[in-house]
């Protein structure tokens, strides 16, 4: 129905020419694919850091007692600030601001600062996801671990976190799909990644088809990621429920 409306709209021939040009598609795709490797690289590096930093923040936030109040407060402040500022602003401020300090030991690489920005923002989101997971593990699990003599950190590491992380895999993936898309924001700093490459192609030809090619590349990597998560979750469920039948 919607397709019929679109195809019969008066502007459709112009839109088709501008967005669905087969020649532009095939001629721009190789270069955009190469640029897309930069997105993948940024994504992989950032994700590694985010998993660790986000977890650290979440653990800091779940430390009990008045002794740890300053650490908890810092973690909360961090999560509030970096979830509050638009991603694009953080990337701009860091990417153009930090190198402007002219400190010789600070890197000037736009990719580095772009990654730092993404890590700061997504760690804040991911820490909240982890925290929800940690809170969802019943306190009796920690009590059982502590009663066996495990320290607070051992209980966290071996008992609470493994259960917490399993429960939050789907929302974590959700954030990572967001992250993967936001790698395009690093283009603002001048890095030629897939989106910027397609912008260059569009500007050179005044034809929008390269955007379509870029969109397809992003979708193409999202789908396997989503299926992989489904597979992980299913495997975990199967293992927990059927191992006995094998035994």
């Amino acid at each position: 129905m919607i397709v019929v409306v679109i195809v019969n709209s008066p502007g459709w021939p112009a839109v088709r020419r501008a967005f669905f040009d087969g020649h532009e598609f095939t001629s721009s795709l190789p270069e955009i694919s190469r640029a897309f490797l930069t997105n993948v690289e940024i994504f992989c590096i950032a994700e590694g850091f985010i998993l660790v930093v986000g977890l650290a923040i979440a653990v800091m936030r779940s430390l009990p007692g008045p002794v740890f109040f300053p650490i908890r407060a810092l973690a909360i402040l961090y999560a509030d600030i970096f979830r509050g500022i638009p991603t694009i602003l953080v990337i701009y401020i860091l990417g153009f601001g930090a190198p402007a300090l002219q400190l010789s030991w600070l890197p000037t690489s736009t990719v580095v600062w772009g990654i730092v920005g993404l890590v700061l923002i997504y760690s804040a989101y991911v820490s909240e996801v982890y925290r929800a997971g940690i809170d969802s593990v019943h306190p009796s699990q920690d009590a059982a671990a502590r009663s066996l003599g495990l320290s607070r950190s051992q209980s966290m590491r071996h008992v609470v976190l493994p259960q917490a992380v399993r429960r939050v895999v789907p929302p974590l993936l959700n954030d990572f799909i967001g992250l993967q898309k936001d790698t395009a924001l690093i283009a603002l700093l001048g890095t030629v990644e897939a989106f910027r490459q397609s912008q260059i192609d569009v500007a050179a030809t005044f034809n929008f088809t390269p955007y379509l090619a870029t969109a397809l590349l992003f979708v193409a990597i999202t789908i396997p990621l989503a299926r992989f998560t489904d597979w992980l979750l299913n495997r975990d469920r199967r293992r927990r429920q059927s191992a006995g039948a094998l035994g």
């Binding site: 839109v15 402007a100 700093l189 001048g190 260059i200 500007a203 050179a204 034809n207």
Partner: protein, 293 residues
């Protein structure tokens, strides 16, 4: 070519004279050339809507920021700066008085978006290319331009004497510009280029040392070194991309009925020395950079 232009030139001259005489007379003169402004499919009836990006930079625009105006750095409506002056001159020759020209903020990327255009003309240092011309109309050239490399004084790149010497440096350019193609097609440096949304971002990256050199058109290069950075220097002009003289054209909607009229006006301006005079007024300082080979 020259011959074919004679008729329109005559017509336009008549048009200008008629415009001075009165609106009714102008219509008469324009009808003869097929460019009666009442008959043109304009965005706003009776007005010539001209788009450009905001901020508007010297030397293309001038006059500074006006109080209460949305335009930054310079205001196109002042008539100052090369592109503003050209635009008003073209408008005048089409029969539009100063009050009948309406400036509109149009980001570069919107200038070529498919669909109905929100402007009659777009003037923003857009370079003509045959591929681009498949999707929009370009007017004849209103400025023949060269690309140049801007750097910070005292940096190694500032001593580069030829194109080959630039290959080792990280270069940047604003997106959608021939400057970018000058990097990838003419210089072909080893480090990948930095590509920026705005001229400002590119200048910031240059100041920050994130790039060694910024490639922009020559008049912009003079503006950057004169006004935007304290210790800037023009390394030199680059040879034309693909050996083709680069030229700026006004952008119009594909198949616009206005294009032919604008071309006639520009041809007349070139023929009677008006363009040269405007270049002299606004871009005189933008000459004399060393040519890199």
């Amino acid at each position: 070519m020259r011959k074919a232009l004679i008729a329109p030139v005559v017509a336009l001259t008549a048009l200008v004279l008629a415009a001075a005489a009165g609106a009714a007379g102008a219509r008469h003169a324009a009808v003869a050339a097929g460019c009666d402004k009442a008959g043109l499919p304009l965005v706003t009836k009776g007005m010539l809507t001209i788009g450009t990006d905001n901020p508007a930079y010297p030397p293309w625009f001038g006059g500074g920021e006006l109080k209460g105006s949305k335009w930054k750095i310079d205001d196109p409506a002042t008539g100052q700066g090369y592109e503003s002056a050209v635009a008003y001159e073209v408008a005048k020759r089409l029969g539009f008085g100063k009050a009948q020209v309406m400036w509109k903020v149009v980001p570069f990327s919107q200038s070529f978006a498919p669909g109905r255009k929100k402007f009659d003309l777009f003037v923003n240092q857009v370079s003509y290319s045959p591929v681009r011309a498949k999707n929009v109309d370009f007017s004849a050239s209103y400025y023949d331009v060269a690309q140049a490399v801007v750097a910070l004084k005292g940096k190694p790149i500032a001593k580069a004497a030829g194109v080959a010497a630039l290959k080792a440096f990280k270069l940047g350019a604003p997106i959608g510009t021939t400057s970018y193609r000058a990097i990838t097609d003419v210089i072909r440096p080893k480090p990948g280029p930095g590509v920026y949304d705005t001229l400002n971002d590119g200048v910031t990256a240059l100041k920050n040392g994130q790039i060694d050199g910024l490639v922009v058109d020559l008049p912009t290069a003079f503006y950057i070194t004169a006004a935007q950075i304290d210790n800037g220097v023009i390394v030199g002009q680059l040879p034309a991309v693909g050996g083709q003289q680069e030229r700026f054209g006004l952008v119009l909607g594909k198949g616009s009925a206005v294009t032919a009229c604008v071309d006639r006006a520009l041809a007349a301006m070139r023929a009677d020395g008006t363009l040269k005079k405007l270049v002299g007024t606004w871009l005189a300082k933008s000459a004399g950079a060393p040519i890199l080979k």
